[in-house]
Amino acid sequence: MPSAEPVPTRAVTVSRTGPLAVVTDLGRSGYAHIGVPRSGALDPAALRLANRLVGNPEGHAGLEVLLGGLELCAEVGVTVAVTGAPVPVRWYGRDGTRRAVDSHRAVHLRAGERLELGVLAAGLRCYLACSGGLDVPAELGSRSTDLLSGLGPAKLADGDRLALGTAGALPSDAGPVPVSVPPALVSVPVLLGPRDDWFADPAGALRGSLWTVGSASNRIGLRLSGAALTRVPERDGVELPSEPMLPGAVQVPPSGQPVVFLADGPTTGGYPVVGVIPEAALGALAQARPGDQVRFTPC
Protein backbone atom coordinates (compact mmCIF):
# COMPACT_ATOMS: atom_id res chain seq x y z
CA MET A 1 0.00 0.00 0.00
CA PRO A 2 1.55 3.28 -1.04
CA SER A 3 2.19 5.54 1.90
CA ALA A 4 1.08 9.14 1.57
CA GLU A 5 4.08 11.30 0.88
CA PRO A 6 4.23 14.05 3.46
CA VAL A 7 3.78 17.37 1.70
CA PRO A 8 6.98 19.34 2.23
CA THR A 9 6.13 22.49 4.10
CA ARG A 10 7.93 25.74 3.56
CA ALA A 11 8.65 27.09 7.00
CA VAL A 12 10.74 29.38 9.14
CA THR A 13 11.74 28.84 12.75
CA VAL A 14 11.73 31.60 15.33
CA SER A 15 14.76 30.52 17.33
CA ARG A 16 14.46 33.49 19.69
CA THR A 17 11.38 35.68 20.17
CA GLY A 18 12.74 38.64 22.13
CA PRO A 19 10.43 40.11 24.84
CA LEU A 20 7.18 39.47 22.93
CA ALA A 21 6.47 38.38 19.38
CA VAL A 22 3.00 37.62 18.00
CA VAL A 23 1.55 36.63 14.65
CA THR A 24 -0.46 39.49 13.24
CA ASP A 25 -2.41 40.63 10.19
CA LEU A 26 -5.09 43.27 9.68
CA GLY A 27 -7.42 41.77 12.28
CA ARG A 28 -10.96 40.40 12.51
CA SER A 29 -13.80 42.60 11.47
CA GLY A 30 -17.53 42.09 11.87
CA TYR A 31 -17.58 40.15 15.15
CA ALA A 32 -17.68 42.97 17.71
CA HIS A 33 -21.37 42.23 18.40
CA ILE A 34 -20.39 38.83 19.82
CA GLY A 35 -17.57 40.32 21.87
CA VAL A 36 -14.64 39.66 19.53
CA PRO A 37 -12.10 42.51 19.40
CA ARG A 38 -10.59 43.77 16.14
CA SER A 39 -7.03 42.73 17.07
CA GLY A 40 -4.41 42.82 14.28
CA ALA A 41 -1.23 44.87 13.87
CA LEU A 42 -0.98 47.89 16.16
CA ASP A 43 0.96 49.70 13.41
CA PRO A 44 -0.88 48.40 10.34
CA ALA A 45 0.93 50.71 7.91
CA ALA A 46 4.22 49.06 8.90
CA LEU A 47 2.84 45.54 8.36
CA ARG A 48 1.38 46.54 4.99
CA LEU A 49 4.74 47.94 3.91
CA ALA A 50 6.60 44.79 5.00
CA ASN A 51 4.17 42.68 2.97
CA ARG A 52 4.50 44.90 -0.10
CA LEU A 53 8.30 44.69 0.08
CA VAL A 54 8.27 40.88 -0.05
CA GLY A 55 5.61 40.78 -2.78
CA ASN A 56 2.67 39.76 -0.57
CA PRO A 57 -0.85 41.14 -0.46
CA GLU A 58 -0.88 43.75 2.34
CA GLY A 59 -3.07 41.68 4.65
CA HIS A 60 -0.88 38.56 4.85
CA ALA A 61 0.14 37.43 8.32
CA GLY A 62 3.55 38.49 9.60
CA LEU A 63 5.19 39.02 12.97
CA GLU A 64 4.82 41.93 15.37
CA VAL A 65 7.95 42.13 17.47
CA LEU A 66 8.12 44.17 20.66
CA LEU A 67 11.47 45.90 21.20
CA GLY A 68 13.38 43.64 18.77
CA GLY A 69 15.61 40.76 19.80
CA LEU A 70 14.00 38.18 17.51
CA GLU A 71 15.98 35.62 15.54
CA LEU A 72 14.55 33.86 12.51
CA CYS A 73 15.99 30.80 10.77
CA ALA A 74 14.96 30.00 7.19
CA GLU A 75 14.31 26.32 6.41
CA VAL A 76 13.79 27.15 2.74
CA GLY A 77 14.55 30.09 0.51
CA VAL A 78 12.37 32.99 1.63
CA THR A 79 12.32 36.74 1.16
CA VAL A 80 11.79 38.75 4.32
CA ALA A 81 11.43 42.44 5.21
CA VAL A 82 11.56 44.21 8.55
CA THR A 83 9.62 47.47 8.99
CA GLY A 84 8.18 49.64 11.73
CA ALA A 85 10.51 51.19 14.29
CA PRO A 86 14.12 51.43 13.07
CA VAL A 87 16.06 48.35 14.10
CA PRO A 88 19.54 47.02 13.36
CA VAL A 89 19.27 43.80 11.33
CA ARG A 90 21.98 41.18 10.95
CA TRP A 91 22.19 38.39 8.42
CA TYR A 92 24.05 35.16 9.30
CA GLY A 93 25.23 32.80 6.57
CA ARG A 94 25.36 29.01 6.89
CA ASP A 95 29.10 29.21 7.52
CA GLY A 96 28.70 31.69 10.36
CA THR A 97 29.61 34.78 8.35
CA ARG A 98 27.54 37.79 9.24
CA ARG A 99 26.80 41.23 7.95
CA ALA A 100 24.48 44.12 8.66
CA VAL A 101 21.52 44.46 6.30
CA ASP A 102 18.97 47.22 5.90
CA SER A 103 15.58 47.15 7.51
CA HIS A 104 12.73 48.46 5.35
CA ARG A 105 13.86 46.55 2.26
CA ALA A 106 13.50 43.01 0.92
CA VAL A 107 16.24 40.57 2.00
CA HIS A 108 16.53 37.06 0.60
CA LEU A 109 17.43 34.21 2.93
CA ARG A 110 18.51 30.82 1.63
CA ALA A 111 17.80 27.64 3.57
CA GLY A 112 19.83 27.60 6.77
CA GLU A 113 20.47 31.34 6.82
CA ARG A 114 19.36 33.42 9.77
CA LEU A 115 18.17 36.95 10.41
CA GLU A 116 18.62 38.64 13.77
CA LEU A 117 16.90 41.80 14.94
CA GLY A 118 18.85 43.97 17.35
CA VAL A 119 17.32 46.10 20.07
CA LEU A 120 15.12 49.03 19.08
CA ALA A 121 16.71 52.38 19.85
CA ALA A 122 13.42 54.28 19.41
CA GLY A 123 9.83 53.22 19.01
CA LEU A 124 8.37 50.00 20.33
CA ARG A 125 7.35 47.58 17.59
CA CYS A 126 8.76 46.27 14.36
CA TYR A 127 7.17 43.98 11.80
CA LEU A 128 8.56 41.09 9.83
CA ALA A 129 6.94 39.72 6.68
CA CYS A 130 7.94 36.55 4.85
CA SER A 131 7.20 35.87 1.18
CA GLY A 132 4.01 33.79 1.08
CA GLY A 133 2.94 35.02 4.51
CA LEU A 134 2.70 32.98 7.72
CA ASP A 135 0.30 30.12 7.14
CA VAL A 136 -0.97 29.54 10.68
CA PRO A 137 -4.66 28.54 11.04
CA ALA A 138 -7.03 31.50 10.78
CA GLU A 139 -9.73 32.02 13.40
CA LEU A 140 -12.74 34.16 12.48
CA GLY A 141 -11.02 35.34 9.33
CA SER A 142 -7.73 36.37 10.91
CA ARG A 143 -4.43 34.82 11.96
CA SER A 144 -3.77 37.52 14.56
CA THR A 145 -2.92 36.69 18.12
CA ASP A 146 -5.46 38.41 20.37
CA LEU A 147 -3.87 38.62 23.80
CA LEU A 148 -7.11 39.66 25.52
CA SER A 149 -9.47 37.08 24.06
CA GLY A 150 -7.11 34.18 23.48
CA LEU A 151 -7.99 33.97 19.79
CA GLY A 152 -5.43 33.14 17.13
CA PRO A 153 -2.09 31.50 17.85
CA ALA A 154 -0.47 31.84 21.27
CA LYS A 155 2.33 34.37 21.59
CA LEU A 156 5.46 32.89 20.08
CA ALA A 157 7.91 30.80 22.08
CA ASP A 158 11.59 30.19 21.29
CA GLY A 159 11.85 27.44 18.69
CA ASP A 160 8.37 27.82 17.19
CA ARG A 161 8.17 26.67 13.59
CA LEU A 162 5.87 28.69 11.34
CA ALA A 163 4.60 27.37 8.02
CA LEU A 164 4.72 29.70 5.05
CA GLY A 165 2.09 30.17 2.38
CA THR A 166 2.80 30.09 -1.32
CA ALA A 167 4.76 33.10 -2.51
CA GLY A 168 3.03 35.01 -5.27
CA ALA A 169 4.42 38.20 -6.74
CA LEU A 170 8.09 39.05 -6.91
CA PRO A 171 9.57 40.97 -4.02
CA SER A 172 10.33 44.65 -4.42
CA ASP A 173 13.83 45.37 -5.67
CA ALA A 174 13.65 48.95 -4.48
CA GLY A 175 16.28 50.27 -2.12
CA PRO A 176 15.35 50.74 1.52
CA VAL A 177 12.22 52.79 2.12
CA PRO A 178 13.04 55.91 4.19
CA VAL A 179 12.65 55.13 7.88
CA SER A 180 10.98 57.60 10.18
CA VAL A 181 12.26 57.57 13.73
CA PRO A 182 9.33 57.54 16.17
CA PRO A 183 9.48 60.82 18.12
CA ALA A 184 9.45 60.92 21.92
CA LEU A 185 6.53 63.36 21.67
CA VAL A 186 3.62 62.14 19.54
CA SER A 187 0.84 64.48 18.43
CA VAL A 188 -2.50 62.89 17.58
CA PRO A 189 -5.92 64.29 16.69
CA VAL A 190 -8.89 63.39 18.89
CA LEU A 191 -12.45 63.75 17.63
CA LEU A 192 -14.49 64.74 20.66
CA GLY A 193 -17.46 62.56 21.62
CA PRO A 194 -19.51 60.57 22.25
CA ARG A 195 -19.28 61.50 25.98
CA ASP A 196 -17.32 64.77 25.88
CA ASP A 197 -20.29 66.45 27.61
CA TRP A 198 -19.51 64.43 30.75
CA PHE A 199 -16.31 66.43 31.25
CA ALA A 200 -15.46 70.00 32.19
CA ASP A 201 -13.84 71.77 29.21
CA PRO A 202 -12.85 68.48 27.52
CA ALA A 203 -11.04 70.12 24.59
CA GLY A 204 -9.06 72.40 26.88
CA ALA A 205 -8.24 69.58 29.28
CA LEU A 206 -7.05 67.24 26.50
CA ARG A 207 -5.07 69.98 24.76
CA GLY A 208 -3.72 71.55 27.93
CA SER A 209 -1.70 68.63 29.26
CA LEU A 210 1.22 66.61 28.02
CA TRP A 211 0.25 62.98 28.55
CA THR A 212 2.89 60.48 29.61
CA VAL A 213 2.67 56.87 28.38
CA GLY A 214 2.43 54.49 31.35
CA SER A 215 4.38 51.26 31.77
CA ALA A 216 1.20 49.17 32.07
CA SER A 217 0.37 49.93 28.42
CA ASN A 218 0.01 46.91 26.13
CA ARG A 219 -1.85 45.71 23.03
CA ILE A 220 -5.13 46.21 24.88
CA GLY A 221 -4.70 49.84 25.83
CA LEU A 222 -2.33 52.78 26.12
CA ARG A 223 -2.45 54.18 29.65
CA LEU A 224 -1.75 57.88 29.92
CA SER A 225 -1.11 60.16 32.87
CA GLY A 226 -1.33 63.92 33.01
CA ALA A 227 -3.59 66.63 34.44
CA ALA A 228 -6.71 64.58 35.28
CA LEU A 229 -9.92 65.24 33.36
CA THR A 230 -12.73 66.21 35.69
CA ARG A 231 -16.41 65.50 35.23
CA VAL A 232 -19.08 68.16 35.14
CA PRO A 233 -20.94 68.27 38.51
CA GLU A 234 -24.12 66.64 37.16
CA ARG A 235 -22.12 63.60 35.97
CA ASP A 236 -19.99 63.31 39.09
CA GLY A 237 -20.22 59.76 40.48
CA VAL A 238 -22.70 58.74 37.78
CA GLU A 239 -22.25 55.22 36.42
CA LEU A 240 -22.39 54.77 32.65
CA PRO A 241 -24.20 51.66 31.40
CA SER A 242 -21.80 49.51 29.32
CA GLU A 243 -21.13 51.01 25.89
CA PRO A 244 -19.57 49.67 22.70
CA MET A 245 -15.87 50.44 22.26
CA LEU A 246 -13.56 50.54 19.25
CA PRO A 247 -9.79 50.85 18.89
CA GLY A 248 -8.95 54.54 19.26
CA ALA A 249 -11.58 55.24 21.92
CA VAL A 250 -10.19 57.47 24.69
CA GLN A 251 -11.91 56.17 27.79
CA VAL A 252 -11.73 58.09 31.05
CA PRO A 253 -12.07 56.08 34.28
CA PRO A 254 -12.91 57.84 37.57
CA SER A 255 -9.20 58.66 38.11
CA GLY A 256 -9.44 61.12 35.18
CA GLN A 257 -6.38 59.50 33.54
CA PRO A 258 -7.28 58.40 30.01
CA VAL A 259 -6.83 54.98 28.46
CA VAL A 260 -6.65 54.71 24.65
CA PHE A 261 -8.18 51.43 23.47
CA LEU A 262 -5.87 49.60 21.06
CA ALA A 263 -6.43 46.61 18.75
CA ASP A 264 -6.94 43.95 21.45
CA GLY A 265 -9.19 46.22 23.56
CA PRO A 266 -12.56 44.81 24.70
CA THR A 267 -15.69 45.51 22.61
CA THR A 268 -17.59 47.10 25.49
CA GLY A 269 -16.59 49.24 28.43
CA GLY A 270 -18.15 50.95 31.40
CA TYR A 271 -16.44 54.34 31.45
CA PRO A 272 -17.25 57.36 29.28
CA VAL A 273 -15.33 57.95 26.04
CA VAL A 274 -14.31 61.61 25.80
CA GLY A 275 -13.07 61.30 22.21
CA VAL A 276 -11.86 58.95 19.51
CA ILE A 277 -8.47 58.92 17.75
CA PRO A 278 -8.79 58.21 14.00
CA GLU A 279 -7.45 54.82 12.94
CA ALA A 280 -4.75 56.41 10.77
CA ALA A 281 -3.18 58.06 13.83
CA LEU A 282 -3.10 54.93 16.00
CA GLY A 283 0.07 53.53 14.42
CA ALA A 284 2.07 56.41 15.88
CA LEU A 285 0.70 55.61 19.34
CA ALA A 286 1.67 51.94 18.89
CA GLN A 287 5.27 53.13 18.68
CA ALA A 288 5.08 55.29 21.86
CA ARG A 289 7.23 53.92 24.66
CA PRO A 290 6.50 54.11 28.36
CA GLY A 291 7.77 57.55 29.38
CA ASP A 292 7.15 59.05 25.93
CA GLN A 293 4.68 61.90 25.72
CA VAL A 294 1.46 62.37 23.80
CA ARG A 295 -0.12 65.66 22.80
CA PHE A 296 -3.79 65.64 21.83
CA THR A 297 -5.29 67.95 19.23
CA PRO A 298 -9.03 67.90 19.93
CA CYS A 299 -11.31 68.59 16.99
Binding site: H33, G35, G150, T268, V273, E279
Partner: protein
Protein backbone atom coordinates in the same frame (compact mmCIF):
# COMPACT_ATOMS: atom_id res chain seq x y z
CA UNK B 1 -43.95 54.90 17.43
CA UNK B 2 -41.62 57.66 18.48
CA UNK B 3 -38.27 57.03 19.97
CA UNK B 4 -36.09 59.48 21.82
CA UNK B 5 -32.96 58.84 19.74
CA UNK B 6 -29.72 60.69 20.31
CA UNK B 7 -26.97 60.36 17.74
CA UNK B 8 -23.45 60.90 19.00
CA UNK B 9 -20.21 61.00 17.02
CA UNK B 10 -17.82 58.11 17.71
CA UNK B 11 -14.72 59.08 15.73
CA UNK B 12 -14.57 59.69 11.98
CA UNK B 13 -16.27 56.41 11.03
CA UNK B 14 -18.55 55.66 13.97
CA UNK B 15 -21.92 56.75 15.27
CA UNK B 16 -23.34 55.96 18.69
CA UNK B 17 -27.12 55.69 18.78
CA UNK B 18 -28.42 56.33 22.30
CA UNK B 19 -31.87 55.17 23.40
CA UNK B 20 -33.75 55.37 26.70
CA UNK B 21 -34.04 51.63 27.41
CA UNK B 22 -32.55 48.23 26.65
CA UNK B 23 -35.80 47.24 24.93
CA UNK B 24 -35.52 50.21 22.56
CA UNK B 25 -31.88 49.35 21.94
CA UNK B 26 -32.98 45.86 20.92
CA UNK B 27 -35.59 47.27 18.52
CA UNK B 28 -33.12 49.76 17.00
CA UNK B 29 -30.51 47.02 16.63
CA UNK B 30 -33.03 44.81 14.79
CA UNK B 31 -33.99 47.71 12.51
CA UNK B 32 -30.35 48.42 11.64
CA UNK B 33 -29.50 44.72 11.14
CA UNK B 34 -32.48 44.31 8.80
CA UNK B 35 -31.51 47.45 6.87
CA UNK B 36 -27.97 46.18 6.44
CA UNK B 37 -29.23 42.77 5.31
CA UNK B 38 -31.58 44.43 2.80
CA UNK B 39 -28.76 46.51 1.36
CA UNK B 40 -30.14 49.82 2.66
CA UNK B 41 -27.14 50.41 4.92
CA UNK B 42 -23.99 49.69 2.93
CA UNK B 43 -20.39 49.83 4.06
CA UNK B 44 -21.19 49.04 7.70
CA UNK B 45 -18.47 46.89 9.27
CA UNK B 46 -19.80 46.64 12.82
CA UNK B 47 -23.20 46.96 14.46
CA UNK B 48 -22.72 46.63 18.20
CA UNK B 49 -25.50 46.95 20.76
CA UNK B 50 -24.83 47.59 24.45
CA UNK B 51 -27.03 48.58 27.40
CA UNK B 52 -28.38 51.94 26.13
CA UNK B 53 -26.52 52.38 22.86
CA UNK B 54 -25.83 50.86 19.46
CA UNK B 55 -22.56 51.57 17.67
CA UNK B 56 -22.52 51.80 13.89
CA UNK B 57 -19.08 51.67 12.29
CA UNK B 58 -18.49 52.08 8.58
CA UNK B 59 -15.51 50.86 6.57
CA UNK B 60 -12.64 52.96 5.36
CA UNK B 61 -12.77 55.79 7.86
CA UNK B 62 -16.28 57.06 7.18
CA UNK B 63 -18.37 59.06 6.62
CA UNK B 64 -21.35 57.65 8.48
CA UNK B 65 -24.79 58.02 6.82
CA UNK B 66 -26.15 59.91 9.83
CA UNK B 67 -29.37 61.24 8.29
CA UNK B 68 -30.25 57.88 6.77
CA UNK B 69 -29.84 56.22 10.16
CA UNK B 70 -31.81 58.98 11.87
CA UNK B 71 -34.66 58.47 9.40
CA UNK B 72 -34.65 54.70 9.89
CA UNK B 73 -34.85 55.02 13.65
CA UNK B 74 -37.32 57.89 13.99
CA UNK B 75 -39.81 57.39 11.15
CA UNK B 76 -42.82 55.27 12.03
CA UNK B 77 -42.09 51.81 10.70
CA UNK B 78 -44.08 50.59 7.71
CA UNK B 79 -46.82 48.08 8.61
CA UNK B 80 -44.93 45.04 7.34
CA UNK B 81 -41.74 46.23 9.01
CA UNK B 82 -43.50 46.71 12.32
CA UNK B 83 -42.71 43.16 13.31
CA UNK B 84 -39.13 42.49 12.24
CA UNK B 85 -39.32 39.20 14.13
CA UNK B 86 -41.68 37.90 11.46
CA UNK B 87 -38.86 38.10 8.93
CA UNK B 88 -36.01 37.20 11.25
CA UNK B 89 -36.99 34.97 14.14
CA UNK B 90 -34.50 35.28 16.99
CA UNK B 91 -32.75 32.04 17.87
CA UNK B 92 -33.89 30.23 21.00
CA UNK B 93 -31.45 28.29 23.14
CA UNK B 94 -32.19 25.95 26.03
CA UNK B 95 -29.16 25.66 28.31
CA UNK B 96 -29.02 22.68 30.73
CA UNK B 97 -27.55 23.80 34.05
CA UNK B 98 -26.09 21.91 37.00
CA UNK B 99 -27.13 24.23 39.84
CA UNK B 100 -24.07 23.61 41.99
CA UNK B 101 -22.43 27.05 41.94
CA UNK B 102 -20.16 28.32 44.70
CA UNK B 103 -22.48 31.26 45.44
CA UNK B 104 -25.81 29.44 45.33
CA UNK B 105 -26.23 29.61 49.13
CA UNK B 106 -25.18 33.27 49.21
CA UNK B 107 -27.72 34.14 46.52
CA UNK B 108 -30.44 32.23 48.39
CA UNK B 109 -29.60 33.94 51.71
CA UNK B 110 -29.51 37.38 50.09
CA UNK B 111 -32.85 36.76 48.40
CA UNK B 112 -34.26 35.17 51.60
CA UNK B 113 -35.24 32.11 49.62
CA UNK B 114 -34.37 28.44 49.69
CA UNK B 115 -31.85 27.11 47.19
CA UNK B 116 -34.65 25.17 45.49
CA UNK B 117 -36.61 28.40 45.06
CA UNK B 118 -33.58 30.17 43.56
CA UNK B 119 -33.16 27.33 41.07
CA UNK B 120 -36.85 27.42 40.20
CA UNK B 121 -36.82 31.21 39.72
CA UNK B 122 -33.68 31.27 37.62
CA UNK B 123 -34.77 28.37 35.42
CA UNK B 124 -38.33 29.48 34.87
CA UNK B 125 -37.55 32.97 33.60
CA UNK B 126 -37.24 33.78 29.89
CA UNK B 127 -34.12 35.70 28.95
CA UNK B 128 -33.02 37.78 26.00
CA UNK B 129 -29.42 38.51 25.00
CA UNK B 130 -29.25 42.30 25.36
CA UNK B 131 -25.66 42.53 24.16
CA UNK B 132 -22.30 40.76 24.23
CA UNK B 133 -18.99 41.93 25.61
CA UNK B 134 -16.33 41.25 28.23
CA UNK B 135 -15.18 38.17 26.28
CA UNK B 136 -16.06 36.51 22.97
CA UNK B 137 -19.45 34.84 23.34
CA UNK B 138 -20.25 36.41 26.73
CA UNK B 139 -23.89 37.46 26.47
CA UNK B 140 -25.55 39.84 28.93
CA UNK B 141 -29.00 38.26 29.47
CA UNK B 142 -31.92 40.38 30.59
CA UNK B 143 -35.10 38.99 32.11
CA UNK B 144 -33.61 38.05 35.48
CA UNK B 145 -36.29 37.91 38.22
CA UNK B 146 -36.11 40.90 40.58
CA UNK B 147 -35.12 38.90 43.70
CA UNK B 148 -32.09 37.45 41.91
CA UNK B 149 -30.74 40.87 40.97
CA UNK B 150 -27.84 41.09 43.37
CA UNK B 151 -24.59 43.00 43.57
CA UNK B 152 -21.33 41.65 42.26
CA UNK B 153 -19.09 39.96 44.81
CA UNK B 154 -16.98 42.33 46.89
CA UNK B 155 -13.86 40.66 45.51
CA UNK B 156 -13.54 39.23 42.03
CA UNK B 157 -12.39 35.64 41.70
CA UNK B 158 -9.08 35.36 39.84
CA UNK B 159 -10.51 32.46 37.86
CA UNK B 160 -14.13 31.57 37.15
CA UNK B 161 -14.45 28.17 35.39
CA UNK B 162 -15.69 28.04 31.79
CA UNK B 163 -19.41 27.29 31.60
CA UNK B 164 -20.22 29.00 34.90
CA UNK B 165 -23.78 30.31 35.05
CA UNK B 166 -23.88 33.52 37.02
CA UNK B 167 -25.85 36.62 37.99
CA UNK B 168 -24.90 40.24 38.69
CA UNK B 169 -27.11 43.32 38.75
CA UNK B 170 -29.92 43.02 36.24
CA UNK B 171 -28.06 40.38 34.19
CA UNK B 172 -27.47 36.65 34.03
CA UNK B 173 -24.67 35.16 31.90
CA UNK B 174 -22.63 32.07 31.07
CA UNK B 175 -18.84 32.43 31.15
CA UNK B 176 -17.69 31.11 27.74
CA UNK B 177 -14.19 30.43 29.02
CA UNK B 178 -12.26 30.57 32.24
CA UNK B 179 -11.56 34.17 33.23
CA UNK B 180 -11.43 36.45 36.26
CA UNK B 181 -14.92 37.49 37.34
CA UNK B 182 -16.99 38.96 40.15
CA UNK B 183 -20.44 37.62 39.31
CA UNK B 184 -22.33 35.32 41.69
CA UNK B 185 -22.09 31.73 40.49
CA UNK B 186 -25.30 29.66 40.47
CA UNK B 187 -24.06 26.63 38.57
CA UNK B 188 -22.45 25.43 35.38
CA UNK B 189 -23.33 24.11 31.96
CA UNK B 190 -21.50 21.75 29.61
CA UNK B 191 -22.67 23.70 26.56
CA UNK B 192 -19.72 25.18 24.65
CA UNK B 193 -20.68 28.84 24.43
CA UNK B 194 -17.91 29.98 22.07
CA UNK B 195 -15.95 28.04 19.46
CA UNK B 196 -14.15 30.06 16.79
CA UNK B 197 -14.29 27.05 14.43
CA UNK B 198 -18.08 26.67 14.72
CA UNK B 199 -20.69 28.42 12.62
CA UNK B 200 -21.89 30.57 14.25
CA UNK B 201 -18.89 30.87 16.61
CA UNK B 202 -20.97 32.21 19.50
CA UNK B 203 -24.01 30.33 20.79
CA UNK B 204 -25.54 33.64 21.84
CA UNK B 205 -25.99 36.75 19.73
CA UNK B 206 -27.85 39.96 20.60
CA UNK B 207 -31.62 39.42 20.42
CA UNK B 208 -31.49 35.65 21.00
CA UNK B 209 -33.87 34.10 23.55
CA UNK B 210 -32.52 31.87 26.30
CA UNK B 211 -33.97 29.54 28.94
CA UNK B 212 -32.13 27.55 31.57
CA UNK B 213 -33.14 24.01 32.49
CA UNK B 214 -31.99 22.27 35.69
CA UNK B 215 -30.11 19.01 35.12
CA UNK B 216 -31.29 16.40 37.59
Amino acid sequence: MSRAVRLLRFGPSGLLVELPSTAEVAAAYRTLCTARKDGRLTGVTELVPAARTVLVEVAGGGPVPVELIRAMLTDPPAPDAADPDAADQPAELLIPVHYDGADLDLVARTAELSVAEVVKLHSSAEYTVAFCGFAPGFGYLIGLPQTLRQARLDDSRPSVPAGSVAVAGEFSAVYPRSSPGGWRLLGHTDVVMFDPAADPPARLAPGDRVRFEPVR
